[in-house]
């Protein structure tokens, strides 16, 4: 791919503290002192900060980076929309809070990625597309999320199975993205990876509990994993875009995450005395805008109010 256009020099010297703090970390990415659970004003990277950098021209992704950010943003947005449904419906109050928290984290990542992606895309009036332009005014085939994220919540075990796959995948991805040559991607990943680490812990603990709890829960856990596993393969599929970005050091090839993903999820499954589901792989296609039947309903609900009042601000 082409060299990222984000001017890291400018970000260092004139950018607001957040992103530049992130880039000053020793590994070239992320603010290692930020906490996932404590509000750290001045350090926590907010979507509004990225929007500011976009407006002032400090952050401008290449077309490739923008397309890539759109993919990751859509993954997180669709998952947040799914998880939000659990709030007030979870098996215990503690899980209303936990799943709500994970949904909020994902929504935060989505907002950052989409804001950044929008910087390389323009509305009819020439302004950059905002996170809301992208979330509310694109149609089904314009979404770039892989199909795993739009899979229905199912029962709690199915949701945990999806969380298990997603959190281990996102952790491997974001961990590597903190070293991206694109300063903004690296900064978003640096914040996200800490949060996703907790998501891993949450899902792994529930895999163990449900698999080792009662006969009923074990049966449901196995079923949940079998329901989600056909969509795992798509996460690790390379294409021209990821090849170009990986070559330039701005992103990582999805296929390169698979070995660690297999090993780490394998360890949890082994402890839970579960097997990796032996199910046929679905063809996927979300990155090219080919989705399952489920996404249309999800978007219809998510977008309805915004589309009733085009141009309104909220």
């Amino acid at each position: 791919m082409s060299t990222p256009q984000t001017n890291t020099e400018t970000t260092h010297t004139e950018g607001h503290g957040d992103i530049s703090t992130g880039m000053a970390a020793p590994m070239g990415g992320g603010d290692s002192s930020a906490s996932a659970t404590r509000i750290t004003p001045g350090n926590a990277l907010r979507p509004e900060d990225i929007a500011l950098e976009v407006r002032t021209g400090l952050a401008k992704p290449t077309e490739d980076v923008a397309e890539y950010a759109l993919r990751l943003g859509d993954d997180a947005l669709i998952l947040a929309q799914r998880l939000g449904h659990w709030i007030s419906r979870a098996p215990e109050l503690e899980e209303d809070i936990a799943l709500g928290n994970i949904a909020l984290d994902q929504l935060g990542h989505a907002r950052s990625f989409l804001t950044y992606a929008g910087a390389a895309m323009t509305n009819d009036d020439g302004t950059p597309k905002s996170e809301d332009d992208l979330a509310y005014f694109r149609r089904e085939h314009e979404f770039r999320s892989v199909q795993l994220f739009e899979q229905p919540n199912g029962d709690f075990a199915a949701t945990i199975a999806r969380q298990f796959v997603v959190s281990y995948y996102q952790f491997e991805l974001y961990r590597r993205l903190t070293e991206s040559t694109d300063a903004t991607l690296a900064a978003i990943a640096a914040k996200a990876v800490k949060e996703v680490d907790y998501h891993r812990d949450h899902s792994a603990q529930w895999i163990l509990r449900l698999a080792g709890g009662t006969d009923e829960s074990r049966k449901r856990m196995i079923h949940g994993l079998r329901t989600m596993w056909p969509y795992v393969g798509e996460l690790f599929r390379d294409d021209d875009l990821t090849a170009r970005l990986a070559e330039a050091g701005a992103a990582v090839a999805p296929s390169s995450l698979k070995e660690d993903f297999d090993r780490l999820t394998g360890e949890v499954l082994e402890e839970a005395e579960l097997e990796v589901p032996d199910v046929p792989v679905a063809p996927g296609g979300g990155r090219e805008g080919r989705h399952s039947e489920h996404l249309g309903y999800l978007l219809a609900e998510m977008q309805v109010l915004a589309r009733e009042h085009p141009g309104a601000s909220w």
């Binding site: 939000g84 007030s88 899980e95 929504l107 029962d155 509990r209 449900l210 609900e301 909220w314």
Partner: protein, 340 residues
Amino acid sequence: MAAQNLQSVPAEPAANQAQAQAAQQEADAAGQAHFDRVIAEDSRIEPKDWMPAAYRKTLLRQVSQHGHSEIIGMQPEANWISRAPSLKRKSILMAKVQDEAGHGLYLYSAAETLGQSRDKMMDDLIAGKARYSSIFNYPALTWADMGAIGWLVDGAAICNQVPLCRASYGPYGRAMVRICKEESFHQRQGFEILLELSNGTAAQKQMAQDAVNRWYAPALMMFGPPDDDSPNSKQSMAWNIKRFSNDELRSRFVGMMVEQVRVLGLTLPDDQVRYNEDTKKWEHGPLDWHEFQEVLAGRGPCNAQRLERRREAHDDGAWVREAAAAYAAKQLNKQKEYAA
């Protein structure tokens, strides 16, 4: 002697029953004296302190109802999480409903210190035996309701709850401190939603006014029946649980709303709001207390829906809770075997 030690006077053999009874009476008298002194000093009663049975019962009812209100109160707002019109609003709304689950947890925990388990409280709620604030039996029909609920409902809740931070029962008062901080943020976000709508398109402004019109009277009724029809208030005030009367708090709330609604560029659906120079209190138009009683008795617009939703979540989650308990028990056994 510390009051908490008085409660655990060991049972005496049968031969000494009379003596034991006398000891118990003495302990109760000492406990009562300690309790009275704490109340007179406006200090705090803690879980292990002796307390009158009626005080315990009143508090348990109030704190558990408060907890139930938080949990049921998640539903009208959760109803708009999936449709929030911007990602920022979605994020704020999710965090708010999540806060309410947290409030429910603190309050149930505070209630547990009075001797009732969370399971029992949840069972009572689902069985329709326990009450919760009747406000949550009204439907959240439009996005503007997220604003009106935050501004009016959370606003009324804050008026009610700030004085509860000084409630004589320690765990309740302390829980309220944190809850009030979060509620105050909730109210501001509700106000901000309405302000944005009011300054938006004509359709948005109308949506905001409609929501204020629908939530105003139910919010005023959140303070409870008029003082001359509120039998429990007097005792609660004597125990330093309640600090101000229902009407006093309602009047204060109306005064606050009168100022704020002007900033919003909206109106209150009440042409009888006025400041009474003689009593130095804000007055409002008549409220439909028959409707209040009807909703309280289970005949409100959403009573059946709210309870069914809670019941469904509880029943659907039963296998998960059983699995977690079974797993924890197995782990404990493994540890014991390992240790042996």
